[in-house]
Symmetry: C2
Subunit: 253 residues, 2 copies
Amino acid sequence: MNSTQRNIKLVIAYKGTNYKGWQKQKDVLAVQEVIEKTLEKFLLRPVKIRGASRTDAGVHADCQVANFKLEDSAVPTSAFKDVLNNLLPADIAIRESSEVPLLFHSSRDAICKTYHYRIYTGKEKDVVAYNDRWHVKYDLDLPAINAASEYLTGTHDYRGFTSAKDNRDDAVRTIYEANAWASGDDEITFKIRANRFLYLMVRNIVGTLVEVGRGRWPAEQVGRIIQSRDRMQAGKTAQPHGLCLKTIEYSKK
Amino acid sequence: MNSTQRNIKLVIAYKGTNYKGWQKQKDVLAVQEVIEKTLEKFLLRPVKIRGASRTDAGVHADCQVANFKLEDSAVPTSAFKDVLNNLLPADIAIRESSEVPLLFHSSRDAICKTYHYRIYTGKEKDVVAYNDRWHVKYDLDLPAINAASEYLTGTHDYRGFTSAKDNRDDAVRTIYEANAWASGDDEITFKIRANRFLYLMVRNIVGTLVEVGRGRWPAEQVGRIIQSRDRMQAGKTAQPHGLCLKTIEYSKK
């Protein structure tokens, strides 16, 4: 191998149920830490990986993207997928390992992310759905939800949909796509595609759309929340386990 | 209420992932114990429930049946479903609570049980399938599996398919139905319906059928295992988490 340093990109799927989110933290187990420890065991050196998205505790991912720098190693890039899959627990899978330019940065270079949020609307308790769908026991009006979703798209200050604790200056984001469909018997899936997301943004949007779907709020409420920039106007935060990071897009340059 | 004693039947679904099976044991958590403790908390008295099937650690149930005797309580029978569902963890659900004759015995009176076993045959690691499908990375020949399954039905001594540790005298059982079908992309479901099952019987049968499906053994091997009554002839025991207790039938008398 000519280059002594490689930048390796991993595409990662995980079931978030058993983890306190993506990002490494003290005293609790996060997905990042599990992958770093596994890489360290294999490479016999400390490794720091950088994830594109800090998913919260209980949130799943179909395609988290992370990258790490590796110097002077004889391990072929493509081998990381199989080796890691064998060493990692069953709820974390590497879907791809590939070499990318040294300047590639999984988080900074992402131009777009898509999240799905699934709701189980059956009346009965469901032991299969419990860790990947939020159980809402009410009938939801899907056309009303989609009418409300139209207020979401565009470039707006989405402060009204972030955490009340989040006081960052810049809350302007662009939502390219927001809609919902019946994805099964007693199941609704929400899709939101945006350039970047604020903390708790998807879950606060879904919590609000559920209020609309239940008929408690009109579709226009979504527009009012955006205009007000006031978190107190929005619905309650939807539970984490319905959320899944579906795709992360990068520019093709 | 006139009668001072009631016999209450519960139909129970659970995801077995977090439990060491159905039956209460020392030092580990079983589904039976969780339900008994929950009933005790609610009724303020010790309760002993009797399950129809001792599912193993990691095995799921769509409709385990259990019953318990209750004396001098004002709680309506139908209330147990909702009360327990609220108090039980998300991976255990009560599907029905009903009053049955005092002599009803969930296990002794069962005339037939059906198990499903799911296999994920995709080449890629799947973080969604990991706790309810066995991952077999080989292409499986479904017609060959169904040809082999035909040897299973009927009344036979199935000692060859039980645990090597199981030395009971009576291993004669009747299998009414045994077959398999493609239940999704990269997914095969096995169904076995029998009057009663031996310890590990379904999982040993599935392990054997997978060998047939991979082309390593001819369909006739299943007949030979039954005739030999020798556990060493059968395939390896399929993993527990693909197994699900689907239905338990009782006579309509």
